[in-house]
């Protein structure tokens, strides 16, 4: 584990993928909140021709300098991606093209330009061509310490600017009208966010690749959103998820070829990082304590179980027949509601409470104007849901009824509040 941070060969890829995750995870939050997750997809593809053209120029200007090539790639990608942003804006506003079509059009035509020029380089500069292809699906393994300096600097720049503007962004995202009235320059702030998005994409290209970059802008924020409702925690969690998936993806892309029996095969890092991020996101969507699918299912299951217990309790109280399984009976005994098939003192009180709630709700529904013959089914549900507070309010609202719409007595109805007390309340 630790070797990934210390070993001179493994160190750079590990740090590189993690820094990339940090930048994209944080900026992705803003895009996620704007519900424009697919903008990242278009902008990352639009960066590709920039990479290719700058390599073509670099191979012409300084054919032997690797450093110069790296820098020119970053700048080229930045310019192309910003051009893409400009083109999308132009299509949407000037030519009245719908947003989705504009994104797709820019994405594919920009990419086409890249492919065309890459096919030219393939013959004339095969080595440079291989360098470019790394940017399609990412190849962190070939990063060296020198690269980390530049990528780290860019990632830190993104993070620093974001942190500095966090309070302003909070206002802008939760209440854009208020932001305008207090005199914030919202358009300039939006432009800043888009520039940061492009920067994060440029940083991520090397390790995730342009084709799959958009996943790193979506998955970590989507995962983080499941765990928190706070703005700042959302950012931190998203950055954390992206860090973890960057690290795991890098490690897995080294190990998976070994496991599959082809040790010399170099697996691109991008797909592995994306798969890790999506797995984390899926786990969050399933398991998060508030909105997770499993959590919701467990909650529903527990409610159903309680309802069955309470229905059995009622049936025992009314001496009706009810399909009682052995373990449901056991469960009642565990709760102290029953003893040897008969109800205990506590059980009788519980059953009376259920029947009271049932009949109270029936009275309430009739009070609200429903026909007395139709209220039973609804009350059958509500008796398991009503809380003591709601019961008290119902009692007060309905003036402590003694019988339900079917002329059945309401057990223990008058035990709650004495008539004098209720009169005092009414006064």
């Amino acid at each position: 584990m630790l070797q990934f941070f210390l070993d001179p060969v493994l160190r750079a890829p590990t740090l590189g993928t993690m820094l990339m995750g940090l930048a994209s995870g944080m900026i992705g939050c803003l895009v996620f909140l704007r519900r424009r997750s697919l903008l990242g997809e278009a902008l990352s593809h639009a960066a590709y021709p920039g990479v290719v053209i700058s390599v073509a120029i670099a191979s012409f200007l300084f054919p032997f300098s690797e450093k110069g090539a790296l820098l020119s790639i970053l700048i080229g990608a930045l310019i192309a991606s910003l051009l893409g942003l400009f083109a999308i804006d132009l299509l949407e506003k000037r030519l009245n093209v719908k947003s989705d079509a504009a994104l797709c059009f820019v994405l594919s035509t920009f990419f086409g330009v890249g492919v065309l020029i890459a096919s030219r380089l393939q013959m004339t500069h095969p080595l440079w061509f291989q360098q470019i292809q790394v940017f399609l699906f990412g190849q962190a393994a070939t990063m060296v310490d020198g690269d980390i300096g530049i990528y780290g600097l860019l990632a830190c720049l993104v993070i620093a600017i974001l942190t500095a503007f966090l309070p302003k962004l909070k206002i802008l995202y939760f209440d854009p009208d208020f932001a305008k009235t207090v005199g914030m320059k919202t358009q300039r702030l939006d432009a800043l966010i888009y520039v940061l998005l492009v920067l994060a994409i440029v940083v991520g290209m090397r390790s995730v690749g342009v084709v799959l970059m958009s996943a790193m802008l979506i998955a970590p924020p989507a995962a983080a959103r499941q765990w928190t409702n706070r703005f700042s925690t959302f950012f931190l969690l998203s950055a954390f998820f992206a860090l973890v998936s960057g690290f795991l993806g890098n490690v897995l892309s080294l190990y998976v070829p070994n496991w599959s029996g082809a040790p010399h095969l170099s697996l691109p890092t991008g797909p592995m990082i994306v798969l890790c991020a999506v797995t984390l996101c899926l786990l969050s969507l399933l398991l998060s304590p508030k909105t997770g699918l499993v959590t919701r299912l467990v909650r529903i299951g527990r409610f159903r179980f309680r309802r069955r217990q309470e229905n059995l309790l009622k049936a025992l109280y009314k001496k009706e027949s009810y399909s009682k399984s052995w373990w449901l009976m056991k469960r009642l005994e565990m709760k102290g509601w029953a003893k040897q098939g008969a109800l205990s003192e506590v059980g009788i009180r519980e059953a009376e409470k259920l029947i009271r709630l049932h009949r109270l709700w029936e009275v309430y529904l009739v009070h609200m104007g429903q026909g007395a013959e139709r209220v039973h089914a609804n009350a059958e549900e509500m008796e398991h849901i009503l809380t003591p507070e709601m019961e008290k309010e119902l009692q007060a609202l309905l003036d402590h009824p003694q019988v339900d719409p079917h002329k059945q007595p309401i057990p223990g109805a008058s035990s709650g509040v004495s008539p004098e007390a209720s009169m005092r309340e009414n006064l």
């Binding site: 996620f32 519900r35 424009r36 997750s37 697919l38 990242g40 997809e41 593809h45 000037r94 030519l95 093209v97 719908k98 989705d100 079509a101 994104l103 797709c104 059009f105 994405l107 594919s108 035509t109 990419f111 086409g112 330009v113 492919v115 065309l116 020029i117 890459a118 096919s119 030219r120 013959m123 292809q133 399609l136 699906f137 084709v211 799959l212 958009s214 996943a215 979506i218 998955a219 924020p221 989507a222 998976v256 070829p257 599959s260 082809a262 095969l265 170099s266 697996l267 691109p268 991008g270 797909p271 592995m272 994306v274 798969l275 999506v278 996101c281 969507l285 399933l286 909105t291 699918l293």
Partner: protein, 318 residues
């Protein structure tokens, strides 16, 4: 020896039309088709099919779904071949095509629905997550099973030079079925594009036609992916209808314009690619050329329209 060897752009076109005339009058056998002609015809058919489907997709604002589909066909193809044997062989069998298209269409729509409704994730993020993760899975599987680290490259960029006569047959079949289904249900598509409510009240079921559209789109994407790759197919699908949209205001004309531009651009791109090879010994990606031509055509037409707009307004002011 290809008859187009050494042809420039200007000698390519007359030669092509001459040979096509011979083919139609039966004086040239199908088996004598040169590779350039197969490329022109396949690309042309692919782009016509894409233009027809794309028009409906653009008008229904479903292009992001098309983008998702163009990525997820990879997993469809990988799984289809794993089940039916042989990975990335010479041609694609019809049944494999069907199976893969069905699989990826269903998988994409089902998973997006699942993320959106069951897991309660917002829609844009659901689409984005589903297609990127399936594409990532497809790349990893394809790389591992073919033991080829560069497979991802071919998938994304396509290779027109590797086209085969079988690819032409598939493209013909797909373009034909697209054309038939679009013309057959022309009224229904038109209704669905412009007024979903009215369509529903006439008994046209949006979900049924939505699935049909998905199936057609994924079939077109799969038939195209060997030639132009998954991403450049999107340029055909979205770019051609957008050009058509610039030129007219009616769906019928838009379909016709998009298809016409599709065929002309395919022809020009193969001719240009041959020209660059002859004149400058420069092999270029034909698919990339076609995409650039779509972009250029859009830009030129948009700026021309912009000019006429300003002229008109000046006249009005004057």
């Amino acid at each position: 020896m290809s008859p187009y060897w050494g042809a420039t752009f200007f000698s390519f076109l007359p030669l092509f039309f001459q040979r096509m005339f011979l083919l139609l009058t039966g004086r040239l056998a199908l088996s004598d088709l040169a590779s350039d002609e197969i490329q022109v015809l396949t690309l042309g058919l692919i782009s016509i099919g894409a233009a027809l489907i794309g028009t409906v997709l653009v008008l229904r604002k479903m292009t992001m779904l098309a983008n998702a589909l163009s990525h997820t066909i990879l997993i469809g193809i990988v799984v289809a071949y794993l089940l039916m044997g042989g990975l990335f062989g010479v041609g694609i069998h019809f049944r494999t095509l069907f199976f893969a298209a069905l699989l990826c269409g269903i998988l994409t729509s089902l998973l997006t629905q699942l993320f959106n409704h069951l897991l309660k994730l917002q829609e844009d993020a659901s689409i984005g997550l589903v297609f990127t993760s399936l594409f990532a899975l497809g790349i990893v599987l394809a790389t591992l099973f073919t033991r080829n680290a560069h497979i991802g490259l071919e998938v994304v960029m396509g290779n027109v030079d590797g086209l085969h006569f079988d690819d032409l047959k598939i493209a013909l079949f797909v373009a034909g079925s697209n054309l038939c289904l679009i013309l057959l249900f022309y009224k229904e598509w038109k209704l669905l594009c412009f007024d979903q409510g009215l369509a529903a009240s006439f008994g046209v079921r949006p979900s049924l036609f939505g699935y049909l559209l998905m199936l057609l789109a994924s079939m077109s994407a799969i038939s195209a992916f060997r030639a132009v790759g998954v991403l450049l197919f999107l340029a055909f699908l979205v770019g051609l209808p957008l050009i058509g949209r610039l030129l007219c205001n009616s769906m019928g004309k838009m379909l016709a314009w998009a298809a016409t531009f599709g065929f002309v651009i395919s022809l020009l791109s193969v001719a240009l690619s041959r020209h660059f090879l002859t004149a400058y010994q420069m092999p270029l990606s034909t698919a990339g050329l076609a995409t650039c031509l779509i972009g250029v055509a859009f830009l030129v037409i948009a700026s021309l329209r912009g000019l006429t707009f300003t002229k008109n307004s000046q006249i009005l002011k004057g």
